[in-house]
């Protein structure tokens, strides 16, 4: 897992861009422009090469299979609804066609404007608007802060997913470990050397450290693999984001660089340090909270098959918080978002979703963290009671009523 994980992650990041690039890398388009308005109007990119050939369309078509071109773009006229034809031996992608359509439209539009209003190209460019909506939050003191919803959503969601998966993955690992010790009966031997609480905490802390190490290793390895593969394949990292943006249809010729720059700026404007520290805190807090409960489940059963009845109620809040994460994102400072980010069982995921949006007050964050600490102290106390009794109990189908009784057994 230690190696496969980063490979999969890096793959997930690289492959879309790589496929995208492969899709486009061979596109050489011969432009046969009978209007002669489009010379140098098409923007050449690494994937898309436009070249004007001053020959008739018949000549071009006849040579399609002899020349290097993958397709011929034939522009006959610039009427309002005129059709532009494309002859190809290699099918152009939707993105390519959309790009050509946009360019042709904008050239026709600007020509028409220049003709009708008798202005030259420079004057036209001067009045060309370029609008983006910039949301700015204003707090009670009148301080303003600019925020970006796209980057916040992305980071929030990413953090929430990571926390959700890590809690699940390592929590279940604790449970498995406890069951293994119980069924192999090694616990009988160990328990005569260390206290059950020590054994349980040792397991939880040990796996937490494994988890953090693995997480760090994964991040580093994923980064390394990503960079190495990208440079070997010769993919410019920006093409990946470009590709994504084009798919979303926000691309305007010549604009993609701006979008990239602005989203990088937006990410920079996020409270990154706060996000990172909170991530570590909520990861550990949530893990300890659920880990203790899962250890208790492991101690109460004889085999993993018996865990179902206890697993569901325990993991319910975690799954619930993951499911409503989307809704919380739409209204990150709403009532539901507030309460779910305060309650310890849902706060690790929901708070991670909320923080990048920046609307979390310091007192909310402190209250949530405080309650999470209380929460895991509480679950650890409960778990220790159940664990102590359960670990030495065999061949008994345990019920909730019984677990409740175990809580009040004396040492």
């Amino acid at each position: 897992m230690t190696l496969i994980g980063p490979l999969l992650m890096a793959g997930l990041m690289i492959i879309p861009g790589w496929l995208m690039m492969r899709d486009k890398d061979m596109q050489r388009i011969e432009v046969v422009d009978e209007t002669e308005l489009f010379i140098n109007q098409f923007e050449n990119t690494t994937e898309l090469q436009f070249k004007h050939e001053f020959r008739s369309i018949e000549q071009a078509k006849a040579n399609l299979y002899n020349d290097v071109y993958t397709s011929i773009l034939h522009i006959k006229s610039v009427e309002k609804n005129s059709e532009v034809t494309m002859y190809y031996k290699k099918q152009p992608g939707m993105m390519t066609i959309a790009k050509i359509e946009k360019t042709v439209e904008s050239v026709i539009r600007s020509n028409e404007i220049q003709r009708r209003f008798k202005i030259n190209k420079e004057e036209l460019l001067e009045i060309q608007p370029n609008i983006t909506v910039k949301p700015i939050s204003v707090d009670a003191d009148g301080a303003e802060e600019s925020k970006n919803v796209g980057a916040s959503t992305g980071i929030g969601f990413f953090g929430a997913i990571l926390i959700y998966f890590f809690i699940f993955m390592y929590g279940v690992q604790i449970m498995r470990g406890v069951i293994e010790e119980k069924t192999s009966r090694i616990v009988e031997i160990i328990i005569s050397s260390v206290k059950p609480f020590q054994l349980m905490m040792g397991k939880i802390v040990g796996i937490a450290l494994v988890g953090l190490t693995q997480f760090l290793l994964w991040s580093i390895l994923t980064g390394v693999i990503y960079v190495v593969v990208m440079s070997v394949l010769g993919i410019d990292p920006s093409t990946v984001s470009q590709a994504n943006e084009m798919m979303e249809g926000v691309d305007v010729p010549g604009m993609s660089d701006n979008v990239l720059v602005s989203s990088i700026n937006e990410i920079k404007s996020l409270p990154l340090l706060q996000i990172f520290i909170s991530f570590i805190f909520y990861f550990l807090g949530g893990y300890l909270l659920y880990g203790a409960l899962l250890a208790a489940v492991g101690s109460a059963v004889d085999s993993e098959a018996d865990t179902q009845q206890f697993m569901l109620p325990i993991t319910m809040p975690l799954i619930f918080s993951f499911v409503v994460a989307q809704t919380v994102m739409e209204n990150p400072d709403g009532t539901m978002a507030f309460w779910l980010s305060i309650i310890p069982f849902t706060s690790p995921v929901i708070m991670m979703v909320r923080i990048p949006f920046g609307g979390v007050e310091t007192w909310e964050l402190l209250l949530s963290m405080f309650l999470l600490i209380l929460g895991f102290l509480g679950t650890t106390w409960v778990a220790a009671k159940i664990y102590r009794t359960g670990i030495l109990m065999y061949g008994k189908k345990v019920t909730y009523k019984e677990l409740w009784k175990w809580l009040f057994y004396k040492g």
Partner: protein, 316 residues
């Protein structure tokens, strides 16, 4: 001197009482048999001594001190239901368990090597536990239990899973450990081995102690004074030679030999019997039919059964 004293210990679980007023004195450098049917409370008592759980009432003293966590490293426990981490290597695991008991790594390794050599299992060091047979794993567990040379060893069914050869090997080791100064609590259903190696025993049934003492004393107390005599000669002459202190229980003839079972009264003994008959018949053999620990165990457990049941009804 007592190594371990258990004083009036009570322990209850939610639905039943596991120990009721149990007191034990376990002498230093002795082998103490803790006996009782399944579910009698032996494991609970052992767990209290191991401080896995605590008594509701009563106290336990280890070398005159109240039992405390610092004593854990002086106790070695071989549980009845025992196992090891299946995926871990034998040597690595033995080292880990030794370190849990407070030994340092170098010392543990040195001693483990000695034991592995003694048991001729050197080549298992790098094997995974799951590759071992049950008996092999039991050997490793025995070693890890005694490795730190604890003052008190608690062995719960130590012979289960062993073939007769290895049973003897372990038996020999247990006796040797006692010679070296260890005190051993030995819990088992195997009464034969109790007679063979235990100095003292306590019998627990239904959470109560019903019998306690030296093995020889108990056997003495429970002896039935029944003798079997085999002789050649006249049965009438034999019976007229006896006087009223002797009661003939049974007689049978095999070829020309006559087998007679006789109960002697408390005031008489074998010598007296022999004096009476030796001139009348030709005695082939005389031996006492002594109850085995097994018989005593069964007799004692059945004896107290109705009583305890009655009490339980009253208690509820």
């Amino acid at each position: 001197m007592d190594l371990l004293q258990v004083k009036r210990v009570y322990k209850s679980y939610a639905d039943h009482q596991a120990l009721h007023n149990i007191s034990l004195h376990i002498k230093k450098q002795s082998i103490f048999g803790l006996l009782g049917p399944n579910g009698a409370g032996k494991t609970t008592l052992i767990r209290i001594i191991n401080q896995i759980t605590g008594p509701d009432k009563g106290e336990v003293f280890f070398e005159k001190e109240k039992l405390a966590p610092k004593h854990i490293s002086q106790i070695g426990y071989l549980p009845e239901e025992r196992g090891l981490y299946k995926k871990m290597k034998v040597g690595e695991q033995a080292l880990y368990l030794a370190q849990l008991k407070g030994m340092d790594r170098g010392e543990a390794k040195y001693k483990l090597n000695q034991w592995f050599e003694k048991f001729e299992i050197n080549e298992w060091w790098d094997k995974k536990v799951e590759e071992l047979s049950k008996g092999m794993a039991q050997k490793v567990q025995f070693i890890t239990t005694v490795l730190h040379e604890p003052k008190l060893l608690i062995l719960d069914e130590p012979f289960s899973g062993f073939d007769p050869i290895n049973t003897n090997l372990i038996k020999k080791e247990i006796l040797e450990l006692r010679e070296k100064g260890s005190t051993i609590i030995f819990s088992t259903h195997n009464m034969e081995s109790v007679e063979e190696i235990c100095d003292d025993i306590a019998l627990i049934n239904k959470s109560k102690k019903i019998l306690e003492g030296k093995v020889v004393d108990i056997k003495e107390a429970y002896k039935s004074n029944v003798f079997e005599i085999v002789f050649v000669g006249n049965m009438i002459a034999f019976s007229t030679a006896l006087w009223t202190a002797f009661e003939i229980l049974d007689k049978k003839q095999v070829d020309n030999r006559i087998h007679v079972k006789i109960r002697a009264s408390k005031s008489s003994d074998v010598n007296e019997l022999l004096q009476l008959i030796v001139t009348k018949v030709q005695v082939i053999s005389v031996h006492e039919i002594a109850p085995s620990m097994n018989d005593i165990f069964i007799q004692k457990v059945q004896e107290v059964m109705p009583e305890t049941m009655e009490e339980e009804v009253v208690g509820e």
